[in-house]
C-alpha cells in the first residue's frame, strides 16, 4: 500500500519533471524509501493514481536492480561483490554475515530487522570492501566493524 509520506509528496516530485513518464523512477524510489520494497499492489495503486499503464511502470521496476520486489528487512544490507571488493575479501564478509544473522541471501531475520543481498560495484572501490545498508555506505568494512554496525542498528531498532 502506498504510504502517507508518498501521498503527501508525489505531486511535488512529478512537478519537477517535464513529462509525466519521466517521474516513474523517482516515484518508485519514494515508495521504496517509505516501505522498504515495492509490491504488485503498489504498482496497481500507483498506476491508477498517476494514470500510467501498469505494464509501463512494471517494465521500469523490473529493469532497475535497486528496487526490491519482495519484502526485505528493516535494514537491508547490500554487499558489493565486484572485483575490488572481491580482492579485499567480500566473500568472507558475506559468509560472516550469513553466520552472524543466520540467514541466506534474500532471507529476512526472524525479528524482521535484517536481510542481505550481494550487489555489483558500488563505486567506492578505494575503500573496499564496501557495503550499503538502506541508503548509507559503510567503507573499509571488516568483521569487527560489521559487529559494531549491526549492534548499533539492533539497539536503534
Amino acid at each position: 500500500m502506498l504510504g502517507e509520506d508518498f501521498k503527501k509528496n508525489y505531486k511535488n516530485i512529478m512537478e519537477k519533471f517535464e513529462k509525466k513518464e519521466s517521474s516513474i523512477i523517482a516515484l518508485l524510489h519514494l515508495i521504496q524509501k517509505e516501505n522498504g520494497y515495492i509490491l504488485e499492489e503498489d504498482i496497481d495503486e500507483l498506476s491508477k493514481l498517476i494514470e500510467i499503464p501498469y505494464s509501463r511502470i512494471k517494465s521500469v521496476l523490473t529493469f532497475y536492480t535497486m528496487f526490491n520486489q519482495k519484502k526485505v528487512g528493516k535494514y537491508h544490507i547490500q554487499i558489493c561483490r565486484n572485483i575490488s571488493c572481491h580482492m579485499a575479501g567480500s566473500k568472507k564478509l558475506e559468509n560472516y554475515i550469513k553466520e552472524k544473522l543466520e540467514i541466506e541471501e534474500g532471507e529476512i531475520t526472524k525479528d524482521g530487522l535484517f536481510s542481505y543481498t550481494t550487489v555489483e560495484c558500488l563505486g567506492a572501490c578505494g575503500n573496499a570492501p564496501v557495503i550499503m545498508i538502506n541508503e548509507t555506505y559503510y567503507e573499509n568494512v571488516n568483521e569487527k566493524k560489521l559487529d559494531e554496525i549491526i549492534n548499533n542498528l539492533r539497539t536503534k531498532k
Binding site: S22, A26, Y64, I83, M87, G123, C125, G126, Y137
Partner: protein, 415 residues
C-alpha cells in the same frame, strides 16, 4: 589545476578560491568562442570514451529550439570512484561547468543524472544547486547576462548500462535503460528528441579551469594529444589507494612508487587494469614501462578508459577475477542484442566451469572465440567491455587457466 579541493565544499569556499569567475568570464565571450576555447584545450571526455569535448559541443545545431546539457554521474564502471570524489570535494565546479556548457551550446535546461546508490551524493548536489541558485548563478537572467539556466537532478536505480549516453537518456525519460541505435546521435536527437550534449562529471568540472586559463594554456599540460590532468581512482593492495590527479603522460612506475607508495607489505604486483574493468589487462612488466596517457596505453593494446585503476597482486587468481567480471557484465547486459545477452551468459558459464576445474583445454579457446564474436557486433559497447577483459586475461595469463583445468592453481585449490 586542482579538480579536487582539500577544504570544505560549500559555495563560500568555492568563491574564495576563484569559483564562478569562469562563468563571469564566459558571459563576456560569444558561445562559439567558448566552444573554440574548449577545442583548443584538446580536452577529451573523461568518462571513458575520450571523445574531444569541444568537437562534441560543436555538433549541436545552431537553432533556437530546445536543447539539453546532461551531466553523466552514473559512475558504475568497476574500479571507478573519481566522480564521487569530485562531488564530495568540489561539487560547484561541476555545476559551473554545466552552466558554461549550457551557455556555449544554447541549452537552457540541464539534467544531472546520478546513479541511484549515490543517495548522499544526490543530496550534496541538491544543496549545491540550491546554493548556486541563491547566489544568482542559476535561474533567470543569470548575472544579468540574459541567459536562463536550470538543473534538475535525476536519480538512477541500479543499472550499469545507464552510463551509456543513450541508455542514460532513456532512463531520464523514465524508461528501461536500453541504448538507442545511432545515428541519430544525441547532438541531433537526444533527450525528448532534442539536441543534447552528455558530458561526464570530471569533464564538466574541468571546463571552468579551461575558461580561466585559456584552451592553449590547458593544452600545455600533459603530452601530445593527451592534454591536461586526469583523475585516477586506484583500488587494490597498494599502500595508498584513493583518487589522484596527475598530468597525462606520467609514467605508471613513477605514479605507482611516488603516489601509491607501492604494494602493501607481502604483496607483489602481477597485473594492472588501468582504466576501469572493461579495458584490457596489462602485466606488471608492461605497466612498469608504460606512460599514463591515451596514446601510450593504446600502443600496448589497452585504454585509459575512466582512469579506474585496479591493482592486482600475485596472491589473486586471474580465473577467479575474470569470473567476477563475467558475472557482472552478464548481470548488466540489457538483453537487447543477442551477441551480448547470450555471449555474456555463455562466457560466465564457461569460466565458472574452468574455475571449479570442470572443463577441457579447448574450453579456453572457446572462451576466446565467443569473446571475439561479441566485439563490435552490438548497439552499445557493453559486449566489447566484457570481450576485452576476456581476451586479454586469456592471452596474457593462459597458464593460470590451464592450471585450473588440471586443478593445480595454488591459490584456488590449496587445501
Amino acid at each position: 589545476m586542482n579538480i579536487i579541493l582539500k577544504e570544505n565544499f560549500d559555495i563560500k569556499t568555492y568563491i574564495t578560491n576563484g569559483g564562478y569567475n569562469a562563468l563571469k568570464k564566459a558571459f563576456t565571450m560569444k558561445p562559439e568562442d567558448i566552444i573554440e576555447e574548449v577545442k583548443k584545450s584538446n580536452l577529451r571526455g573523461r568518462g571513458g570514451a575520450g571523445f574531444p569535448t569541444g568537437l562534441k559541443w560543436s555538433f549541436i545545431p545552431k537553432t533556437n529550439s530546445q536543447k539539453y546539457i546532461v551531466c553523466n554521474s552514473d559512475e558504475s564502471e568497476p574500479g571507478t570512484f573519481k566522480d564521487r570524489e569530485i562531488i564530495h570535494k568540489n561539487p560547484h565546479s561541476i555545476i559551473e561547468g554545466m552552466i558554461i556548457a549550457g551557455y556555449a551550446i544554447g541549452a537552457t535546461k540541464g539534467y544531472f543524472y546520478i546513479r541511484g546508490e549515490f543517495a548522499r551524493e544526490a543530496r550534496i548536489i541538491e544543496k549545491t544547486i540550491y546554493e548556486a541558485k541563491e547566489a544568482g548563478f542559476l535561474g533567470k537572467n543569470i548575472l544579468k547576462s540574459g541567459f536562463d539556466f536550470d538543473i534538475t537532478i535525476v536519480r538512477g536505480a541500479g543499472a550499469y548500462i545507464c552510463g551509456e549516453e543513450t541508455a542514460l537518456l532513456e532512463s531520464i525519460e523514465g524508461k528501461q535503460g536500453k541504448p538507442r541505435i545511432k545515428p541519430p546521435f544525441p547532438a541531433v536527437k537526444g533527450l525528448f528528441g532534442c539536441p543534447t550534449v552528455i558530458n561526464n562529471v570530471e569533464t564538466l568540472a574541468t571546463v571552468p579551469y579551461i575558461i580561466i586559463a585559456g584552451g592553449e594554456n590547458y593544452s600545455k599540460i600533459g603530452v601530445g594529444k593527451s592534454t591536461g590532468t586526469k583523475l585516477f581512482s586506484v583500488s587494490g593492495p597498494v599502500k595508498k589507494p584513493g583518487v589522484y590527479e596527475i598530468p597525462l603522460g606520467t609514467p605508471f612506475k613513477k605514479f605507482f612508487e611516488e603516489n601509491l607508495g607501492g604494494m602493501k607489505d607481502g604483496e607483489k604486483l602481477k597485473a594492472v587494469i588501468v582504466g576501469g574493468s572493461s579495458v584490457p589487462v596489462i602485466t606488471a612488466d608492461e605497466a612498469m614501462k608504460v606512460n599514463l596517457d591515451y596514446e601510450s596505453l593504446s600502443s600496448i593494446g589497452t585504454m585509459l578508459g575512466s582512469g579506474g585503476m585496479i591493482i592486482i597482486s600475485e596472491s589473486q587468481c586471474m580465473v577467479d577475477l575474470l569470473y567476477v567480471l563475467a558475472r557482472f557484465y552478464h548481470h548488466e547486459s540489457c538483453g537487447q542484442c543477442t551477441p551480448c545477452r547470450e555471449g555474456s551468459g555463455w562466457i560466465e558459464k564457461i569460466i565458472k566451469n574452468i574455475l571449479i576445474g570442470d572443463a577441457k583445454v579447448s574450453d579456453i579457446d572457446l572462451l576466446y572465440e565467443i569473446a571475439e564474436n561479441m566485439m563490435g557486433k552490438t548497439i552499445c559497447p557493453l559486449a566489447d567491455a566484457l570481450a576485452m577483459p576476456v581476451m586479454s586475461f586469456v592471452k596474457k595469463f593462459r597458464n593460470e587457466f590451464e592450471s585450473h583445468i588440471t586443478k593445480e592453481c595454488k591459490i584456488c585449490f590449496r587445501k
